[in-house]
C-alpha cells in the first residue's frame, strides 16, 4: 500500500525559517534510510503559504485567494509518498523520523483499490506480458 505522509506547518516553517544544519543532516540521513529500504517513492518540502494560492469554487464563480493562510496547524510544509506493507509499518518508519518540538505528522492511506485485487482473476493473462516472461525464460536458457 501507499501512504502519504504529511508534515504539518509550524510557525517557523511558515515564517520561512529553514531548519538548522543539524536537523537538515539528520533529515538527509533519514531520507537515505527510507530510500535504501525501498520505502520512499517521493518526498518534497513546500515553500511557505505566503507563496501559495487558493481557488474557491461557487457555482460558475472562481475566486482566487492569495496566501499566506492563517490556520498554520492545518497547513502542509512537506510530504512523502511511501510504499509500505501496512499502516503499522508506516508508523514504525515515521517513529524514526528526526522531528521534535511538538511537530505533528499525519499518515494517510492512498486509495489504489483498483490496482490490485479482483482484477487479477485467474486465467486472464495478457499476451504482451507473457512474451516478456517467455523472453526472459529464453534469455536464461540461451544466456
Amino acid at each position: 500500500m501507499r501512504v502519504l505522509v504529511i508534515v504539518k506547518a509550524s510557525d517557523e516553517s511558515e515564517a520561512g525559517i529553514m531548519p538548522n544544519t543539524e536537523l537538515l543532516s539528520a533529515m538527509g540521513n533519514y531520507n537515505e534510510e527510507l530510500v535504501k529500504a525501498g520505502v520512499m517513492l517521493m518526498g518534497e518540502g513546500l515553500a511557505t503559504s505566503a507563496e501559495g494560492k487558493r481557488v474557491r469554487f461557487e457555482g460558475k464563480k472562481r475566486t482566487v485567494i492569495d496566501g499566506p493562510f492563517a490556520e498554520t496547524k492545518e497547513l502542509i510544509a512537506g510530504f512523502w509518498l511511501w510504499q509500505v506493507r501496512s499502516m503499522n509499518e508506516a508508523v514504525e518508519w515515521l517513529r524514526r523520523a528526526p522531528f521534535d518540538g511538538g511537530t505533528e505528522v499525519e499518515i494517510r492511506r492512498v486509495f489504489e483499490a483498483d490496482d490490485f485485487g479482483e482484477e487479477f482473476t485467474p486465467e486472464l493473462r495478457e499476451q504482451e506480458e507473457r512474451v516478456w516472461t517467455q523472453a526472459s525464460e529464453n534469455a536464461k536458457r540461451n544466456g
Binding site: 525501498g38 518508519w93 490496482d115 504482451e128 516472461t133
Partner: protein, 441 residues
C-alpha cells in the same frame, strides 16, 4: 518503564497493538539483523534462529515495556546474548566460534563499546552479502526465491506459501533444505569476488524478476498476495539498487519493473478481461512509477558502462511509457533496441517481438518477412503468439483468408479458454475489420 523506553501513549499498549508493532519492526529490521548475525556466527540458519529467538523475547517483553527507542539495536543485543548463552553451553566449539565467544563476552561487559559502532558500518555490506547468499546458484531457483523473500523481504513462510500457492509445509521444507544446502556447500558469506561477480549478480536479478513475474502474470490464484509480489519484487529491486549502485543492470531491472508495474491498473477491463498495451487507457498508467523507471534508466546510462538485457527491455518499455498516445510510439527506436537486445541475448522470442516493431515502424510487409523466417524455429513451435502475430500482419495486408487460418491455428495452441475465445473472436471478425490493431510488445 526502563529509561530507554519510549512511551507510546499514557496507557500501556494492548497486546494486540504490541504484536502489530512488533510485526512492523520485524519487517523493517529482520534482514539487517539476520545479515549482521550471519557475518558474526558464520551460518545463515543459526543466524536466523538467533534472530527468531530475539523476536520471541520481544514478543514477551514489549507488550509490558513498550517498543524500545531503537528496536533494531535491542533485537541485535538480545540475539547476541542468545549466541553467547549458546556458546557457553556448548563445549565443543571450533576455533572460529571460540574467538566469537571471547568477543561477545568482551562486548557483554562493555555493551556501549566499539563493536556497536563497527557493526553499523557493516550493515550495507552485510545486506549485500545476504542477497548474494540467498540467491546463490548452488540453490534451485524456487529455493532462492523462498529464502530471499523470507530473509531479505521479511515475509513469513505462510505469506510466501500463500503467494506461490504451495502448502506451508512444502515451503518450510524448501527453506530448511536451502539452508542446509548452503551449509553443506560451505557457501561463504561474502560479496563475490570479481571473477564471479557478473554471474552472481545475474542470479540475484533473476530471482527478483522471477518474483515480479509471478505476481505480474498471475498464472493462477485470486489472492491479493500475488499482485503484492510485484510490490515485494520492486522493493527488493530498489534495495539492491542502493546496495549495488554501480551496477547498470540493477537499475535496468528496476526500470523494467517500475514501468511494467505502472500499467498494472490498465491491464484489465471492467469485466476483468485483459487489455492489450496498445488499447490501454494511458491515463490509468501510474506516472509516478513511469517517472521512477525513466530515472532508473538514466541512472544506469550515467554509469557509462555497456548496457545489458534488463536495461534494454526497460528502455523498450520506456518507449511505450513515453508515448502519450499509441500513435506517438517511437517504433524505430524500439526496433533499434530490439536489435541491441538480440545481440546480447539472441532469442527467437526477441526476434518475433522485433518483427512486430519492424512492422509498426516500416510496414506490415517488412514485419511479415521476418515472421516468415521464424516459422521453422523449433523454440517457437507450439507458441500461439507466432501465428497470432502472423495473422495480424496478414490481415493488415488484406490477406484475410490466411489470417483466419493463422488465428484458428493460434486458438488451437492457446493455453486457456479465455485466450482461445479471444483468438476465435478475432478470426470471426476478420472480413469486416480491415485493420486489426497490432499487439505491440
Amino acid at each position: 518503564m526502563d529509561a530507554g523506553v519510549r512511551e507510546r501513549e499514557a496507557e500501556r499498549v494492548s497486546e494486540a497493538a504490541a504484536r502489530e508493532a512488533i510485526d512492523a519492526v520485524w519487517r523493517i529490521e529482520s534482514a539487517r539483523l539476520i545479515a549482521g548475525l550471519t557475518r558474526m556466527v558464520g551460518d545463515l540458519g543459526m543466524a536466523e534462529d538467533l534472530a527468531q529467538d530475539a523476536l520471541v523475547v520481544a514478543l514477551e517483553k514489549w507488550p509490558e515495556s513498550g517498543v524500545p527507542d531503537n528496536p533494531g539495536a535491542w533485537l541485535m543485543a538480545t540475539a547476541k546474548h542468545r549466541a553467547l548463552d549458546h556458546f557457553r553451553r556448548s563445549r565443543m566449539l571450533d576455533r572460529r566460534h571460540q574467538d566469537l565467544k571471547v568477543r561477545l563476552e568482551a562486548e557483554h561487559r562493555d555493551p556501549e563499546g566499539e563493536m556497536h559502532a563497527a557493526l553499523d558500518d557493516f550493515i550495507g555490506d552485510d545486506l549485500l552479502r545476504l542477497v548474494f547468499t540467498t540467491c546463490h546458484p548452488v540453490l534451485a531457483p524456487e529455493a532462492r526465491v523462498a529464502l530471499t523473500l523470507r530473509l531479505l523481504g521479511g515475509l513469513t513462510t505462510e505469506e510466501i506459501a500463500r503467494a506461490f500457492l504451495v502448502p506451508v509445509k512444502t515451503l518450510q521444507q524448501r527453506i530448511v533444505r536451502a539452508k542446509r544446502t548452503l551449509r553443506e556447500a560451505r557457501v561463504p558469506f561474502e560479496v563475490p569476488p570479481p571473477t564471479e561477480a557478473g554471474e552472481r549478480l545475474e542470479s540475484v536479478l533473476e530471482v527478483i524478476y522471477l518474483v515480479f513475474n509471478e505476481g505480474y502474470t498471475a498464472t493462477a490464484g485470486e489472492d491479493w498476495v500475488r499482485p503484492a509480489l510485484c510490490q515485494e519484487a520492486l522493493r527488493l529491486g530498489r534495495i539492491v539498487a542502493e546496495l549495488a549502485p554501480e551496477e547498470p543492470e540493477v537499475h535496468g531491472l528496476v526500470a523494467l519493473m517500475e514501468i511494467q508495474a505502472s500499467r498494472l491498473r490498465a491491464r484489465r477491463g471492467p469485466g476483468g478481461e485483459p487489455v492489450l498495451l496498445m488499447d490501454q487507457d494511458r491515463a490509468r498508467w501510474d506516472h509516478l512509477l513511469i517517472r521512477r523507471g525513466l530515472a532508473a534508466l538514466e541512472r544506469a546510462e550515467a554509469l557509462g558502462r555497456p548496457l545489458g538485457p534488463y536495461w534494454l527491455q526497460g528502455a523498450i518499455a520506456a518507449c511505450h511509457a513515453r508515448a502519450a498516445t499509441p500513435e506517438d510510439t517511437d517504433w524505430e527506436r524500439i526496433v533499434a533496441l530490439y536489435d541491441a537486445l538480440a545481440q546480447v541475448f539472441p532469442s527467437p522470442v526477441v526476434e518475433l517481438n522485433r518483427a512486430v516493431g519492424v512492422a509498426m515502424a516500416y510496414g506490415p510487409e517488412a514485419g511479415l518477412e521476418l515472421v516468415e523466417g521464424l516459422v521453422a524455429e523449433p523454440a517457437l513451435e507450439g507458441y500461439h503468439w507466432l501465428p497470432s502475430v502472423r495473422a495480424d500482419l496478414l490481415a493488415k495486408l488484406g490477406r484475410y483468408g490466411e489470417a483466419r487460418a493463422e488465428l484458428e491455428h493460434a486458438a488451437s495452441l492457446a493455453r486457456n479458454e479465455t485466450e482461445r475465445t479471444l483468438l476465435l473472436e478475432r478470426a470471426d471478425g476478420l472480413p469486416q475489420d480491415a485493420l486489426i490493431q497490432g499487439d505491440g510488445p
